[in-house]
Amino acid sequence: MIALVELADRQLSSPLGRASPLLKLGIALGWLLGLALTTDPVPPAFVTAVTLASGLVLGRIPAARLAAGLAPLWAAALGIGLFNALFSAANTDPSLAVVAQAGPFRLTEPAVVAGVGLAVRVIAIASVGVVFGLTTDSTRLVDSLVQQGHLPERFGYGALAAYQAIPRLADDLATLRQARRIRGLRGGWHPRLLVGLLILAIRHGDRLALAMDARAFGSGPRSRFRTVRWSWWDLVLAVGAALVLGVALSLG
């Protein structure tokens, strides 16, 4: 079932865990946009290798945990790769080398290369996401977005309060499904469950907002309990990340 990711201190106190979450987000999006410049499989493969290695070493993520986080991505990568290979514009060009042919369907070499390239791109993006998720605490992420990214704090902390309702929403969903079974309805998933979930979520949101208003949330300037500051390590990480992307793109 769905739960908030519990992060061990070992990951949070690691070099990647101590880096600014805003910076890590920036690196993730920068790499993503950089990789969109090429369909060659080598640059995303290089980024994947660097990401997984830094997750293990700089993030101190246990290998088994990393592998479990990456498990769902293989189907997605395969799906995207096949779609691009099978429906490539290159397949209709008669001058290109054919790899496979079945009736009117042709599969050309450039189409296969592009399919592999995009599949590896999905793997690279997902790896970055998994390493980010396993080294970033949600509270620190919002602290960083508010203090370093200047996100309006009412929205940042409002979203964080809602985020922490996830275990509760997961329980609500389980209760709603049991209630359906008790009434003799079939188990499994039904769109009505979503409405029930939203009703309970909005009620919870109302109570949360009332409690926050009662404590004068967002009514004046705030002092801060936790501060997130830029450090030299952030600068090193930013330069390193830019170098990695540069090397990756020069390999393609």
């Binding site: 997605a76 096949l82 009412r154």
Partner: protein, 198 residues
């Protein structure tokens, strides 16, 4: 399908966000973040089923776009589409989506495209055609994003088929679904104090 909420052109809306608007928009985003996470797994699992006509799968695409229309329809504040989509995307990134940080990029594109349509009406028109236009705009944003990030090599005909399937999906699932959900929520009495509850 008729008008979603009675009036076509409402009064000049109050644009300041109350705490309640913020938290309820965020929690709608969170609930959908959980749905996205499950949907993302199902989405990849659906691939074998649609292997003969993969664009048909895009008829189900608009599940990703629901918060971009549902949340603004409930709270009716500037920025609600972007805020709800970003929270949903952030949740599915943090709990481990297949698409990683790209969820944030596509969430932003999808939310911002719907937001433009609502901003164009000055947040005063919540009729079904406007909801449908916002849903289709959101799908158009998603279509361009996916083309650039995931389907670079795919031929133009297939891209257009995908776009068409996504637009149909947006009108039916995102706009139609949002209207049905708001109706059910209003009957349950949880929208009191919100513009959509009247």
């Amino acid at each position: 399908m008729g008008v979603a909420t009675g009036q076509v052109t409402g009064p000049v809306p109050a644009t300041r966000w109350r705490t309640r608007d913020i938290v309820v928009t965020a929690i709608i985003g969170v609930a959908f973040g959980v749905v996205f996470w499950a949907w993302g797994l199902a989405w990849s699992g659906l691939d074998p089923l649609f292997s003969l006509a993969p664009w048909a799968k895009d008829l189900l695409y608009a599940v990703w776009l629901v918060p971009a229309v549902l949340a603004p329809l409930i709270v009716r504040k500037p920025g609600a589409a972007v805020f709800a989509e970003m929270v949903a995307a952030g949740v599915s990134t943090l709990i481990g989506s297949v698409w990683g940080p790209d969820t944030l990029l596509s969430g932003f594109v999808q939310g911002a495209a719907a937001e433009l349509v609502f901003a164009f009406t000055l947040y005063r028109n919540w009729s079904f055609p406007i909801l449908a236009a916002a849903a289709v705009a959101s799908a158009a944003g998603a279509w361009i994003h996916d083309w650039a990030i995931y389907y670079t090599g795919v031929s133009l005909e297939v891209q257009l088929l995908r776009g068409l399937a996504m637009a149909i999906s947006a009108v039916v699932i995102t706009a139609g679904g949002s209207v049905l959900i708001v109706r059910a929520l209003r009957e349950a009495g949880v929208l009191e104090g919100f513009p959509a509850g009247r």
